[in-house]
């Protein structure tokens, strides 16, 4: 058996048992388990190659070729090889732009609209597993829209996929293990990092302390400490940084910040920002899956049960897309959700394999609480005070405008869109939703869970009118548009 690669909309079947969205660790694992059950499986992925962001370019990178990517990255090779050995279909460069559930309960069906190579198709599936992964939490600071500023995740993608090293002076800033992991990879590959500006508040360590024993028992701990020591020997590190801004006119040329009670300015040509990752749940949101606020991770995540079932019976959600837990957990999460979805299609009961993966997932989750709390980004970086900082990069809406609307009493993020166009651009809120929730919560002294987030609608990725127009016109839809007129 080998994986079938589909590159044209015409080669898609109209119907599959299982559709999986995302070919990262959760998606590949879910596909592998579903294929093992003998089901017809299709995996849609936006990227040109499987692997997701964590195992980016896993099809091309070998340990010998790019040793600086490290051993954790190597885990992806086995996962990918197993995925390749299945009878599933993999559709790369495919944007699933709409997901609707038809019917309810066990008979529910998922209807996906997907754009492949310039054409859209409707695909039905008995169950869908969303494995859409994570996005980096936005880190709105003054100057973050300047060319020369990217996210740390982006810089790491450039390294994994294209062997690109940053040119200096290079400054990394923010909060979270990725800063050090990326720095370590750059150093191992022969590059230079000029400074790391940690924005993690000092008091985080106190709040994380109760979870330290669980953390020490996790594989992260010793690996992470070793990595941190290596980086700190080679890179100037500033701790508890505040009042960060990126300077420059047409591109970044420096950073200015407060550290240790002093204002510091450094030259910088490459500035990389990162303050953790949050679930990329746009498709789940648009499909009507309930979301809930995770106060430890400071983000909204889809509500799922222990096997990944969302509040919509045809839709399962696995991996970081249902809450951040990293690649290893995502893989087990994908296996568990894949088996659960597959058994529902088969009308079969429980599985021994699944119980084993639940135990493995539990073990892999050790230390997560410590990491969440230790690296929780400061409120001043989640909900900035400076009015001129851009919050919505597409519509170019400032923090000040949002705070003014908050003071007028705007009821929430969706009314804010109406007020300011915030979140109405092509990124469809991906770059501002988290900031908007926290800004409104901060300004109106409400809990983020009550503030809520944008309610999204298809298409969740921009699609040309002609592609939408070419899909079938049902008689009900034609009537709704042309026959229902009674005045204007």
């Amino acid at each position: 058996m080998t994986l079938t690669i589909i590159r044209n909309a015409d080669d898609l079947s109209a119907r599959y048992d299982i559709a999986i969205v995302g070919a990262g660790p959760a998606g590949m694992a879910a596909a592998t388990e579903c294929a093992r059950l003998g089901l017809a499986v299709v995996v849609f992925d936006e990227n040109a190659e499987a692997g997701g962001q964590i195992y980016r370019a896993i099809e091309r990178n070998t340990r010998a070729g790019r040793p600086y990517l490290g051993s954790d990255y190597g885990r992806g090779a086995g996962l990918w090889a197993a995925f390749c050995a299945t009878a599933a279909s993999h559709v790369p460069s495919a944007a699933v732009w709409s997901l609707e559930q038809q019917g309810e309960g066990a008979a529910a069906l998922a209807e996906l609209r997907v754009s492949v190579a310039g054409r859209s198709r409707i695909v039905l599936a008995r169950r869908v597993v969303l494995a859409t992964g994570a996005t980096e939490r936005p880190m709105p600071v003054r100057g973050w829209t300047l060319p020369g500023v990217m996210s740390v995740g982006a810089a790491q993608i450039a390294l994994k996929a294209s062997a690109l090293l940053p040119e200096g002076p290079v400054v990394l800033t923010g909060s979270g293990p990725l800063l050090y992991l990326y720095a370590d990879q750059v150093l191992a590959a022969g590059g230079t990092i000029d400074a790391i500006l940690e924005t993690t508040p000092r008091r985080n360590w106190l709040r994380a302390a109760p979870h330290v024993f669980s953390f020490l028992a996790s594989p992260y701990a010793w690996k992470g400490l070793g990595l941190m020591l290596r980086v700190r020997r080679a890179v100037r590190v500033f701790r508890a940084v505040t009042a960060l801004e990126i300077t420059g006119k047409d591109r970044a040329d420096g950073v200015t910040f407060m550290a240790g009670g002093k204002t510091v300015s450094l030259p910088a040509r490459s500035v990389f920002l990162h303050q953790g990752v949050i679930p990329h749940a746009n498709l789940a949101n648009a499909a009507g899956c309930a979301l809930a606020w995770n106060d430890r991770q400071k983000c909204f995540a889809p509500v799922v049960d222990g096997e990944g079932r969302s509040t919509r019976p045809a839709i399962f959600i696995a991996g970081d897309g249902n809450g951040i837990a990293g690649a290893v957990v995502a893989e087990f999460d994908g296996r568990i959700a894949g088996i659960a979805a597959g058994l529902e299609v088969l009308g079969a009961g429980s599985s021994e394999a699944s119980r084993r993966f639940v135990r493995l997932r539990k073990r892999a989750l050790r230390g997560r609480a410590f990491i969440d709390l230790a690296y929780q980004p400061a409120l001043s970086f989640r909900a900035p005070a400076a009015g001129d900082v851009v919050a919505c990069r597409c519509e170019e809406v400032s923090v000040g405008a949002i705070r003014e609307a908050a003071a007028l009493g705007v009821a929430g993020p969706n009314q804010l869109k109406t007020m300011l166009r915030c979140g109405m651009g092509p990124c469809q809120g991906r770059m501002c939703a988290a900031t908007v929730t926290e800004l409104l919560a901060d300004a109106q002294q409400r809990h983020p869970a009550d503030v809520g987030t944008y309610r999204l609608r298809p298409p969740i990725k921009p699609v040309p009118l002609c592609e939408i127009a070419a899909l079938p016109h049902t008689s009900e839809a034609v009537y709704a548009v042309t026959g229902g007129h009674s005045g204007h």
């Binding site: 980096e136 990217m150 982006a154 690109l164 022969g190 047409d250 490459s270």
Partner: protein, 100 residues
């Protein structure tokens, strides 16, 4: 803003704003532009500010460029192809031409 640490096995030729570039055949358009020293790929629609690739994973829509005549394509999601023509953008798209 970036430099390559490997010599690519296969190269393709792309044309960026009229300039020919030899780039890694496995690169995305965004990675090819960054590797060639282009940090700015467009000017923003609302206030005409310079913008460049930010996320490289299809999230931020900052790297929008015109590829082979199709406007507003995400440079980070499109692999390069030999002979591809890429132009930077300024302001809103036009409605002329550009059918995929």
């Amino acid at each position: 803003m970036f430099r390559k640490i490997e010599n690519p096995k296969d190269l393709v030729t792309i044309v960026v704003d009229g300039r020919e570039l030899e780039v890694d055949a496995t690169a995305s358009v965004a990675a090819a532009l960054l590797g060639a020293g282009m940090a700015t790929v467009r000017r923003s629609v609302v206030t005409d500010q310079p913008r460049g690739p930010y996320c490289l994973m299809g999230i931020c829509f900052e790297c929008l460029v015109t590829i082979d005549g199709v406007q507003n394509r995400q440079a980070c999601m499109v692999p390069v192809r030999d002979g591809m023509t890429i132009s930077s953008q300024r302001g809103a798209r036009t409605t002329q031409g550009g059918g995929r």
